[in-house]
Amino acid sequence: MGPFTSKHAVQIVSRQTLSREPEAVTRDQIPALLEGLGPSLRTLLGKASAEKLADQIRLELGL
């Protein structure tokens, strides 16, 4: 999605879902953050690709 939209997306979801700023999101909260990003990712990428992306992020973060 590019750096601008990615930052914006994380900001929106962290504020709405976790009620905190992106910098304050803890490692344990990342799955919830990814869950919150799900609908947007599914809209733009389709379900399979959005799930792969979320899985890849979890893998890379060791979650």
Binding site: T5, P39, S40, L44, L45, G46
Partner: protein, 273 residues
């Protein structure tokens, strides 16, 4: 490790895809260059050549769009958008094939009502597709909020350009609605596409640096070339160019417009994991 040290495999993949996508962007211009060869042919042969090129371009775009749509579930806006684009260009391929058949072999389906119906459906579907692309972005939850004033400014600007470009043929269509109802629908479809250029560029700008940017950018560029095509068709008589030269410009613009739609379909698949 900070975020700046972390280079995910996703970023690595994105970097690898960028040169491929940049190559994709050359395809429409290469297609235009191929079509330009028609200027070297006798008129009758050039007519067949242009028609054949259009059939191939429309068919490629249709198939690619439908393949891209398969990644989405029914009910999703991008499923509808890619499907509508695919079916629209499939109808264009069928229509141009019918004309090509008639030119090559004579006979075939020459019924005006059939050809006009295909044209009308094509225009409606492509316009709908573009609308759904815009709505998909707007409802994704990612569109940065814009002030109402800015939104309205862009909307009116888009409509103004569409009216300037499409107004004259649309008025002509109204006056001769009996014989030019198809011109009316075709022009209206073009005007919708033109009015959506800015709403298509907005997500591309928002996603700059990302792979998805290229999809919306290619769709917007396709509409820009349809805009140039409409302007050319409306003004070519005033250029003083020989008919064959004017025709080749028209055909180049048209094929580039279609092939940018094709590029959008491929770019979207390349941006997915």
């Amino acid at each position: 490790m900070t975020a700046d040290d972390f280079d995910s495999t996703i970023n690595v993949r994105a970097r690898k895809q960028r040169p491929l996508i940049r190559l994709l962007l050359l395809i429409p211009f290469v297609s235009g260059a191929i079509v330009a060869c028609g200027i070297l042919m006798p008129d009758a042969t050039a007519g067949l050549f242009y028609r054949g090129a259009l059939v191939i371009a429309a068919l490629l775009t249709a198939v690619s769009a439908l393949v891209t749509s398969s990644a989405f579930e029914k009910g999703q806006k991008l499923f509808a958008a890619w499907s509508a684009l695919g079916i629209g260009y499939a109808l264009a391929a069928i229509r141009h094939s019918m004309r090509l058949w008639t030119l090559l072999l004579g006979g075939g389906i020459t019924n005006r009502a059939v050809l006009d119906t295909l044209l009308v459906l094509q225009n409606v579907l492509v316009a709908l597709a573009l609308w759904w692309f815009v709505r998909a972005w707007q409802t994704s939850g990612l569109a940065a909020p814009m002030s109402r004033r800015t939104q309205l400014t862009w909307i009116f600007l888009g409509i103004a350009v569409a009216i300037v470009v499409g107004g004259y043929p649309l008025i002509q269509g109204f006056h001769t609605a009996g014989t030019d109802a198809v011109l009316l629908v075709s022009t209206a479809g073009d005007m919708i596409g033109i009015a959506l250029i800015v709403p298509l560029i907005t997500p591309a700008l928002a996603m700059r640096g990302g792979l998805l940017m290229h999809t919306w950018l290619a769709l917007a560029t396709s509409e820009v070339f349809w805009l140039l095509y409409d302007v050319w068709v409306g003004t070519k008589g005033m250029t003083g160019l020989a008919p064959s030269s004017a025709t080749v410009v028209e055909q180049i613009l048209r094929i580039i417009a279609v092939m940018f739609a094709f590029v959008a379909t491929v770019a979207h698949r390349r941006s997915r994991l």
